[in-house]
C-alpha cells in the first residue's frame, strides 16, 4: 500500500504532503527532511526506488520538484513510478485550463486517485470530473 505522497522542492521545502497512515504532526517534518535528503543525494542514472527503513521510496523528479511516494514492500515499484507520472499529467490537464494556484485543488485531485493507500482511479477524465463540476457550480 501507499503510505504517503510528498512533493518537495530542491531546498527540501514541502509543497504538499499526504499521509495514508497516521503519522503524528511532530514527527512529519523530520521524516520528510530525512526522506528528501535520501532522494536528493541520488544521481540521475541511479535507480528511482530506494530502500528506506522497513519500507521503500519511489521518487520522480520534475524540474525543481521531487515527488516521493512511500510504499510497503509488497507494492510494484514501477507501477507506482508511473502512477506519479499519471498524477502529474492529471495536474497538467487541469491546471493548463484553470490558471490558479491552489493547494486544496491538488489535494482534491489526489483524493480522487488514492484512498486508504490504494489506487482507486487512474482514468484522467474521471479523476477530474468532480472538481470540474465544482468549478462550474462556483461560477
Amino acid at each position: 500500500m501507499i503510505k504517503f505522497v510528498l512533493m518537495v522542492n530542491r531546498q527540501g521545502q514541502t509543497r504538499l504532503s499526504r499521509y495514508f497512515q497516521p503519522v503524528e504532526l511532530s514527527r512529519r517534518a523530520a521524516l520528510e527532511a530525512d526522506v528528501v535528503r535520501c532522494c536528493l543525494s541520488r544521481k540521475k542514472d541511479q535507480c528511482s526506488f530506494v530502500e528506506y527503513k522497513d519500507f521503500k521510496l519511489v521518487y520522480r523528479q520534475y524540474a525543481a520538484l521531487y515527488i516521493v511516494v512511500g510504499v510497503t514492500d509488497s507494492e510494484n515499484e514501477l507501477s507506482v513510478y508511473e502512477l506519479v507520472h499519471n498524477f502529474v499529467e492529471v495536474l497538467d490537464k487541469y491546471f493548463s485550463r484553470v490558471i490558479m494556484f491552489n493547494l486544496d485543488r491538488v489535494h482534491i485531485i489526489l483524493d480522487e486517485m488514492i484512498q486508504n493507500g490504494h489506487v482507486v482511479e487512474t482514468n484522467k477524465s474521471r479523476v477530474l470530473a468532480p472538481l470540474t463540476a465544482l468549478d462550474k457550480m462556483g461560477d
Binding site: 514541502t14 520538484l65 486544496d104 468532480p130
Partner: protein
C-alpha cells in the same frame, strides 16, 4: 520528450512552488496563501519559519472566531491552516471550523471543509462524530456533487460506531443510475470492511453485483474489496476465477473506452490488480490455475509497447506465472522476460529484473545461473540499491561452494553501508549463513575493522555468532 511532458515540466514548479516563473507573481499576489508560501520559501532558518507561522496562526485564529467571517473567507483560512499543519505546526483550533465549513459551505467551500477534516482529523478523533450529521444530510442531497463529496469523505475516515447509522444510505447508492455514485458507494463499503468487517458481512451479494456492473469504474472499485477478501480466504472465491479471467481478457483485448488508456496501454493499474487476484486464486491449485493460462499468455504477448507501465504489468504477470501451478510454456516466456529486464541498460528495469529473479530463484535456480555474469556485474554496481538487491538474490542461491564468496561480498557491503535497517538485515543474513555453513573466518572478520556507527549492533550479533559457533564445535 512529448509535448505534454515538456509543458508539465515547465509548469509544475510554478504551480506549486512559485519559484521563478514569470507570470506566477501575477497569479499568486492576490492569494494570501501564495504570499504565505512565498514568505516561507524565502526564509532560511527554522527559527524564522516558526515566527512567521506563529504570526500566521494567530491571524487565522482571530479570523475563524470572528462572526463576520464568510464561508468563502473560511475556505481560504482553512487552506492556510492546512498549509501550516503540513509544515508541522499544530492548528487544532481550526478543526471545529473545518466541520462548520463542511456543514454550512456550498460547492467548493463545502468540499474544502471536507478536505480539511480529512487532513486534520483521524479515525479516533472525538470531533469526527460531529461530521456524521453533515455527511448524512449530504448523502440525501438532490445535488449529486454533494453526495459524491460525502461518499469521498466517508471512504477516508468514519467513526466505526456510527457505521450502522449510515450503512443503509450507502447501500442504497449502490443502485444509483450514475456510475460515479455507485463507484464511490463501493469504495465507502470497502472502507467499512477495513474498519469493521463484521458490519458488512451481509452484503456480499451486493459486492458481486458491483463486480458485474456494466461500468468498468464500478467493477474496478469492487476489486479492492475482493483482493482483501481473497487474501484472507482464497478458497471462498475460487468460483469467481472465470469472472476475473474474463474481465482481464476484455481489458487486455482493448474493450474498454479509450479514456481508460494510459499511454496506449489499457487500464494498466486495473490489469495489475487483476493479476494479483489471479495470483492468489491460482496458488497451489492446478484446476484453478488452468483457467488462467490463456489470459496470462495473452497478457505477456500484448505487452509489446516499450513503456515503463508495460514492464510493470509484465513484472506482475511473471510473478503470477511463477506462483500458480506451473505451465512450462508460460514459465519459458516469463523467464525470457526476466532475462530482458536483468540485461536492460535501464536501471529501473535491471532492479525489477533482480527483484523478479529473487522471487523465482527458488523454483528455478537455473535461471540465476543463466544470468551469472550479469549478477556478478551488478554486485559491483555503483548504485547501492542494485548492489543490495543483488545480495538479496545471492542469499537465496547460496550453497556450500559459493557461500564464502557471498558472505565476503556481504561483509564488504556492510563496511560501506550507512543505513541501520539494511545493516541489521544483512548481519542477520550473515549470521544465518554462518549457522548453516559453519564459517570460522566469518567470526574473524567480525572481529576485524568495521564502521564505528554499526559497532554496537555488530557486537550484539558477533556474540550471537560466537555462541553458535561454540555450539557447533
Amino acid at each position: 520528450m512529448s509535448d505534454v511532458v515538456e509543458k508539465t515540466l515547465t509548469a509544475l514548479p510554478g504551480l506549486l512552488s512559485l519559484d521563478s516563473l514569470p507570470g506566477s507573481n501575477k497569479l499568486s499576489s492576490s492569494s494570501k496563501l501564495g504570499n504565505l508560501i512565498r514568505g516561507i520559501t524565502e526564509l532560511t532558518s527554522k527559527h524564522e519559519e516558526e515566527k512567521l507561522i506563529q504570526r500566521e496562526l494567530t491571524s487565522i485564529k482571530e479570523q475563524v472566531s470572528s462572526p463576520n467571517t464568510s464561508m468563502r473567507q473560511m475556505k481560504e483560512l482553512m487552506v492556510r491552516a492546512i498549509y501550516c499543519e503540513m509544515l508541522g505546526y499544530e492548528a487544532s483550533f481550526s478543526y471545529i471550523h473545518a466541520i462548520k465549513l463542511a456543514q454550512q459551505g456550498t460547492a467548493l467551500e463545502k468540499r474544502v471543509g471536507y478536505l480539511a477534516v480529512s487532513l486534520f482529523l483521524n479515525e479516533s478523533h472525538e470531533l469526527l462524530l460531529l461530521l456524521v450529521n453533515t455527511v448524512l444530510k449530504d448523502l440525501q442531497s438532490t445535488n449529486l456533487i454533494e453526495v459524491c463529496m460525502a461518499l469521498t469523505v466517508v471512504s477516508q475516515m468514519f467513526p466505526k460506531d456510527m457505521i450502522p447509522a449510515i450503512l443503509p444510505l450507502v447501500e442504497e447508492k449502490l443502485n444509483h443510475p450514475k456510475e460515479i455514485i455507485r463507484r464511490k458507494a463501493v469504495l465507502a463499503l470497502y472502507k467499512f470492511y477495513l474498519i469493521a468487517p463484521n458490519q458488512v458481512q451481509h452484503i456480499h451479494n451486493k459486492f458481486r453485483k458491483a463486480l458485474c456492473d456494466k461500468d468498468p469504474g464500478v467493477m474496478t472499485a469492487s476489486l479492492h474489496i475482493y483482493l482483501q477478501l481473497i487474501e484472507e480466504n482464497p478458497e471462498g472465491y475460487k468460483d469467481l476465477t472465470t469472472s476475473f479471467v474474463t474481465i482481464l481478457k476484455q481489458v487486455v483485448g482493448g474493450k474498454l473506452p479509450m479514456d481508460f488508456n494510459y499511454h496506449s496501454v489499457p487500464a494498466p493499474w486495473l490489469q495489475i490488480q487483476l493479476l494479483r487476484i489471479l495470483c492468489l486464486l491460482g496458488k497451489n491449485d492446478q484446476s484453478t490455475s488452468e483457467i488462467m493460462y490463456e489470459v496470462l499468455d495473452e497478457s505477456l504477448r500484448r505487452a509489446e509497447i516499450n513503456h515503463n507501465i508495460t514492464y510493470a504489468i509484465l513484472f506482475e504477470c511473471v510473478k503470477c506465472i511463477y506462483t500458480i501451478h506451473p505451465k512450462s510454456e508460460l514459465l519459458e516466456k516469463a523467464a525470457k522476460c526476466i532475462g530482458n529486464f536483468v540485461l536492460s541498460p535501464k536501471i529501473n528495469l535491471k532492479y525489477l529484473g533482480l527483484k523478479a529473479l529473487t522471487y523465482v530463484v527458488q523454483q528455478d535456480p537455473k535461471l540465476a545461473l543463466q544470468h551469472q555474469m550479469t549478477i556478478i556485474e551488478c554486485l559491483d554496481h555503483p548504485d547501492l540499491i542494485i548492489k543490495r538487491e543483488t545480495l538479496e538474490l545471492l542469499f537465496r542461491i547460496t550453497n556450500a561452494q559459493n557461500v564464502t564468496v557471498i558472505v565476503d561480498k556481504m561483509l564488504e557491503f556492510l563496511r560501506i553501508n550507512k543505513d541501520d535497517y539494511t545493516t541489521i538485515d544483512l548481519v542477520g543474513k550473515v549470521a544465518e549463513l554462518a549457522e548453516k555453513y559453519p564459517l570460522i573466518h566469518v567470526f574473524l572478520s567480525f572481529g576485524g575493522p568495521l564502521l564505528p556507527e554499526n559497532g554496537k549492533k555488530i557486537v550484539k550479533y558477533t556474540s550471537h555468532i560466537t555462541t553458535l559457533l561454540y555450539m557447533l564445535k
